[in-house]
Symmetry: C2
Subunit: 209 residues, 2 copies
């Protein structure tokens, strides 16, 4: 490897990163559509247009691939959520709606399949529990920041936690049927409750540089 120069190493690294990314995205789509029992490294590799060998180089086991996929997509969605409110949030209802959106769509459907499988597959349980803890902490942090919550106020932390539990429950309700209209009404009402609980009026958080 001593003859590889920086100039030709970089495109290889780019290709490798791109392959990895395609595998992760295909894995989430596959898990959401077919469940854990129907999701293997081979199926994902084919969907991603990547050789099975290359897929196994990146992800030696099925558990590696699917847990990495759910975490990768969750991080992307968290980043996109922050980017929605670059100057801080002035409208709590908009923040609540955006938080609830985190729990609908293919990522949540994929995560649900992973949870369901982890409930009876020991190999998965520990991995999924770790990811859930990390992703959950990050989502809580974003919610506190965008909602302008002072967590030193007694109860404020649990108010936000309950809101995120509600968002997760709304996500579950949306897995089998289109629950959009009911969800919108619940989001409006709970946004109003939250505004009262946290102190009403528009929230202006610090602009993030």
């Amino acid at each position: 490897m001593g003859t590889v120069t920086a100039a030709d190493r970089t495109p290889k690294q780019d290709r490798s990163r791109l392959t990895r990314q395609r595998l992760l995205e295909a894995a989430v789509t596959c898990l959401a559509a077919h469940g854990w029992a129907g999701s293997t490294v081979a199926v994902v590799a084919e969907r991603a247009g990547v050789s099975r060998g290359a897929a196994q180089h990146h992800f030696p086991t099925r558990e590696d691939l699917f847990t990495a996929a759910v975490e990768y997509v969750a991080e992307q969605r968290s980043g996109a959520l922050r980017a929605l409110f670059p100057d801080g949030a002035r409208d709590r209802a908009a923040v609540v709606a955006a938080l609830v959106d985190l729990f609908t769509g293919p990522l949540f459907k994929a995560a649900l399949q992973l949870w369901a499988a982890a409930a009876h597959e020991e190999l998965l349980r520990l991995r999924v529990t770790e990811i859930e803890a990390r992703v959950g902490r990050e989502t809580h942090r974003i919610a506190v920041e965008l909602l302008g919550v002072d967590e030193s106020v007694p109860g404020a932390r649990e108010t936000v936690q309950g809101l995120l539990d509600m968002a997760r429950g709304l996500g579950l309700a949306a897995v089998l049927t289109d629950d959009t209209r009911r969800r919108q009404r619940v989001v409006n009402q709970w946004s109003a409750l939250l505004d009262e609980a946290l102190g009403g009026g528009p929230v202006v958080t610090e602009a993030r540089s």
Copy 2:
């Protein structure tokens, strides 16, 4: 069958009802422990100590058995919830805690496995959606009654719906880890917020005869 008298028909019906009940309860336990892929009529029959033929007489298909099981246990739990507050509820926090309890434990874990499978099995999806709608309506009715909610007040219906979504989300959080302490704090905080939203003070609903 003309020679069968009422006297000997009744014990047979009792035995049949008992067999059915044992199958339904074993089905929920099996689904919670092994997921949809690991749950068949044969496995449940063995666990219930019932012959496979008898099991198939009661439930011709796997879908029949497991959807009936989740609905049966959900009805039992709803009945038990009403029985907890025979004279109406005076303490909203106790009602909220009892409602949240509906979404933890083996029934919720079994229902989650059914939802996860229904997301990619068309045969199941319609059946599970129907059951969910029925069980959901009944749970909402009980919540409104025990919380003493006047649904003609704008937003009251959505307040209760959001509470039940939160309960479902708390249930999901409890599938992989013991989340009891955090759940208790969230329940306390949202009970207080709900009390304010619905009009404070103890609730006295009509005693049910």
